[in-house]
């Protein structure tokens, strides 16, 4: 890849030829704010949040769509740029439902972050507030369009990645909004509840129900792990608070690129099911009764070794599990082969 030299905020940097100003800046750890841009989706360049000043250009240019050229001189935080961004933020605030106190995205919201960064406390445009009913009808997430900033990321991720085409820009003018056809609840659309729209929403317009009143974003621990369902092996982050999972955040390091399906995104509740086994059980007089680990181990060791010693290892068999880890599968076959002395070990992969 050919490299060129650009000047950003007075310093010279190397950039890949053909990359956008936004990518070139990011690659050099210069953060340009964005609302409608999302890596991996098409780039509408509509929010204007990422505008920058380029020497020789009359207008401010959108960093997400403008390619870098050799010798380009870019200002990402000049007075003109900052004033433009402030104005965009003031327009967002004009109709936004500003009940931040109890908002689930408080502390994890792009609108808050950028207002703070550019010291925007209020808006001179304050007009009519958008007041839409909150749709809580599906089991997985709610839709609160009084908070929507119309970035369109949900529209694009649903169309371009999932292929369900649930949302679009509807109506015109003040009433314009991003929603499903006829405002239908998701369960009456082609929605497959992958939750990817929730994951890309920069504000609290789309929020997992499970995090409601469950904790503030900064109180959650995020633990990166692998989805326990199918063989695609998507990477995700479990949101954990007080020893319980309360939701799932995206992780872009794996080949799923942050994309998930409904099972990875919303299928973790079984972990906290009241049906979980919590004690070893031993059958006594036909009934399974709780016993200590020590008793369970002793009983198993006695029975397995006596059957093995009496009939030989071929009289025993073990089923390992495609749900268990590599380490566990490894130990299981080693257990059967070295302790029980049999190759009668399999798992249900064939099924």
């Amino acid at each position: 890849m050919e490299r060129i030299t650009v000047t950003i905020n007075g310093n010279q940097y190397q950039a890949l030829k053909g990359s956008t100003i936004l990518k070139a800046a990011e690659a050099n750890n210069i953060h340009i704010p964005t609302m409608c841009y999302e890596e991996g989706l098409s780039i509408p360049g509509c929010c204007r949040m990422c505008v920058v000043e380029v020497k020789g250009a009359r207008k401010l240019l959108a960093a997400c769509t403008t390619p870098v050229t050799e010798g380009m001189e870019i200002q990402t935080e000049s007075d003109r740029v900052v004033e433009a961004r402030k104005d965009i933020l003031r327009l967002y605030l004009a109709s936004h439902d500003l009940r931040c106190l109890t908002c689930e995205r408080n502390g994890d919201c792009r609108l808050q972050d950028y207002c703070y960064r550019y010291k925007v406390e209020d808006t001179p445009y304050r007009g009519e507030q958008k007041k839409y009913p909150v749709d809580i009808s599906n089991p997985f997430f709610f839709r609160d369009y009084s908070k929507c900033i119309m970035c369109g990321k949900c529209v694009r991720v649903c169309a371009e990645i999932n292929g369900a085409y649930v949302y679009d820009f509807m109506e015109k003018g003040f009433d314009s909004k991003v929603t499903s056809a006829f405002d239908d609840p998701n369960q009456e659309t082609a929605c497959t509840f992958c939750g990817m729209c929730v994951q890309v929403c920069p504000v609290a317009a789309l929020v997992e129900k499970s995090v409601m009143w469950a904790g503030r974003p900064w109180e959650m621990q995020k633990v990166k792990t692998t989805c326990p369902y199918c063989g695609v092996g998507c990477q995700l982050k479990l949101k954990v608070k007080d020893g319980r999972i309360i939701g799932v955040a995206k992780d872009k390091s794996g080949s799923n690129l942050g994309h998930l399906c409904v099972k990875g995104q919303f299928g973790w509740e079984y972990v906290h099911s009241p049906d979980r086994l919590t004690r070893p059980l031993l059958r006594k007089n036909g009934k399974l009764e709780p016993v200590s680990w020590e008793d369970a181990y002793n009983h198993i060791a006695r029975r397995l070794s006596s059957i093995r010693d009496q009939y030989g290892g071929q009289a025993l068999a073990g089923l390992s599990s495609a749900k268990c880890t590599n380490e566990e599968n490894y130990l299981f076959q080693k257990f059967m082969r070295t302790l029980i002395h049999t190759n009668n070990v399999d798992h249900c992969a064939r099924l």
């Binding site: 990166k224 299928g267 979980r276 089923l319 599990s321 130990l331 070295t338």
Partner: protein, 554 residues
């Protein structure tokens, strides 16, 4: 798995999931990707939107049919005929890759002779489709710069499953559509760690890294690594005087174990994290077999239908409560991290195994836990030789990764096949083990749906998933529905020679006439009471995809 392993030397997906985005033609055979492997389904749709061509071979009108250039709605169980038909056209029209065949394959001539009778007309008749479709599909696949065949259970769960896979491998070799970035063969694994279980040797005929148990060099290596005395009389050997060393005889597969248990030859079983009562074919037979055991240990996170039959039940930790790794369908080894403590006294499976081994007199000792177990795995598993937790911290690595400085392998068989030369296998179309007849006139096929998983142990205890979909909904074609007087939403009884279940019915052209589709996610409708335990003679996958049934309204 056996099919690809025999043809190429490795049973795994040859390429990476995201290389589907670079493929010009995707041949999707018996894989309902958007339901069973949804994120891979997204990639196929993305590829099509970017201009890739898609050929769907499936009796069902799956979602991806909407994205397909060609849809070959073949009769269930006729894949081999179709794939041979494609190869026939490719040879007839001289679209094959002569250099690839000459340099990189063997068994070609014999295979070629076997194709003679599979003319488009002959195949069209077997498969119930138009001959032109076969020609078009063959041309598209063979002439693509890069083509990838994607398949899943729809291919393997037939008595002819291994033959299906051979036929797919033949097609890839004759056209040179394998061994390059974006060109290959992609078997999609059902459960999250099927690939890893196989890699780790949780198989009756393989040690870790697919070394045969009857290969004496492999056996000696592992006897040394595992500290198994080659002397008779060491612990773990019957009566203190049984055979020395590791067992030589290959073991039994799941299906064979159940039969042996039924005959009283298997006396005890140890089952970790599986629920064969619901997942195995012919459930009644499995329950009877398990009941005959002298001793059954089940280790799981729930009291499953299988655990209910056990003498001892051990409470295990879930994926969120332990450290470890899973290997995904593209051979990528990825970390599982502990986010929570297990409930009550439950323990991770690895720890239970270690402690149980200690009680049986083996001094297994892994004070640093799974990370240390992985170090041992790396020592005895050449495919994982370069794997360590430190390297997996940021992102996973695709095996083979033989050394600590090896970057991993995004696509296999690049210079040569794992087994050296790729092997052609002559395969013939065979009818399914059980075909519909007057008594049982419908063909039942089984599969998965998006919101639930496998036997439902996990997904059905996730109340939000359950709220969206909580019962079996069998699919029946409108023609059959009107013939039997069944309406959408009716409850019916489905009966096979082995058992009967009740289910609600959806009347839809998603299935062709003569075919009934059901999942096996719902224990209230235990579909595997109906299915057939007849197994593929080579890889021993039961015939879950096709059995004869009849329906009646209740």
């Amino acid at each position: 798995m056996a099919g690809l392993a025999t043809a190429f030397g490795s049973g795994a997906m040859t390429n990476s999931i995201n290389q589907l985005l670079q493929t010009n033609v995707i041949l999707l055979v018996g894989a309902n990707t958007t339901e069973a492997h949804p994120v891979t389904g997204y990639r196929i749709k993305q590829a099509v939107k970017d201009g890739s061509r898609l050929i769907v071979v499936d009796p069902r009108k799956i979602e991806l049919v909407r994205y397909a250039d060609l849809w070959l709605r073949i009769r269930p169980g006729t894949n081999v005929a179709l794939l041979n038909g494609l190869a026939h056209v490719i040879m007839r029209d001289d679209l094959w890759d002569k250099q690839f065949v000459a340099e990189r394959s063997e068994g070609f001539e014999e295979w070629r002779q076997g194709l003679e009778q599979y003319t488009p007309e002959y195949v069209a008749n077997i498969c119930g489709i138009k001959p032109e479709l076969i020609e078009e599909a063959a041309h598209l696949y063979a002439q693509a710069e890069k083509a990838t065949t994607v398949y899943a259970m729809g291919i393997t769960q037939h008595t002819s499953g291994t033959n299906n896979v051979f036929a797919i491998a033949n097609l890839a070799m004759v056209t040179g559509q394998v061994g390059r970035e974006g060109a290959g063969v992609a078997p999609l694994r059902g459960q999250n760690n099927v690939q890893g279980s196989c890699d780790m040797g949780a198989l009756p005929n393989y040690y870790p890294s697919y070394r045969f148990v009857d290969d004496s060099a492999a056996r000696q290596d592992l006897e040394k690594a595992w500290g198994v005395s080659p002397e008779a009389g060491a612990p773990g050997q019957p009566n203190g005087q049984g055979p020395a060393g590791l067992p030589v005889e290959p073991g039994l597969t799941v299906t064979e174990m159940m039969k042996a248990a039924d005959r009283g030859e298997i006396k005890a079983m140890y089952i970790m994290g599986e629920n064969p009562v619901l997942s195995d074919p012919d459930a009644n037979h499995v329950i009877e077999a398990l009941k005959k055991l002298d001793f059954l240990v089940v280790q799981d996170i729930f009291l499953t239908e299988t655990a209910e039959l056990a003498d001892v039940v051990l409470p295990a930790a879930s994926f969120a409560e332990k450290e470890g790794t899973f290997t995904n369908t593209e051979r990528r080894i990825q970390r599982v991290r502990k986010a929570l403590e297990p409930p009550g006294e439950a323990k991770p499976d690895w720890l239970i195994l270690v402690e149980l081994a200690n009680h049986l007199g083996r001094p297994w000792h892994y004070p640093r836990g799974p990370e240390e177990i992985m170090e041992e795995i790396a020592r005895v598993t050449p495919l994982y030789g370069g794997i360590s937790y430190a390297r997996l911290e940021e992102t996973g690595i695709q095996w083979p990764c033989p050394t600590p400085d090896h970057p991993g392998t995004p696509w296999l068989h690049a210079e040569k096949f794992t087994r050296g030369k790729g092997r052609f296998h002559r395969v013939e179309h065979l009818p399914p083990a059980e075909e519909p007849d007057r008594e049982y006139p419908l063909l039942l096929t089984t599969g998965r749906m998006l919101y639930h998983f496998h036997t439902g142990t996990m997904s059905r205890r996730s109340k939000r998933l359950e709220a969206i979909h909580d019962h079996e909904l069998a699919m029946l074609n409108p023609d059959d529905a009107s013939h039997y007087g069944i309406c959408d939403g009716d409850t019916v009884q489905v009966e096979s020679r082995r058992g009967k279940v009740k289910t609600k019915v959806q009347v839809t052209d998603h299935v062709p006439p003569g075919v009934l589709f059901m999942t096996f996610h719902f224990k209230e409708t235990a579909t595997n009471l109906l299915t057939n335990a007849a197994v593929d003679p080579i890889c021993k996958i039961p015939e879950l995809k096709a059995c004869a049934v009849r329906v009646s309204k209740v």
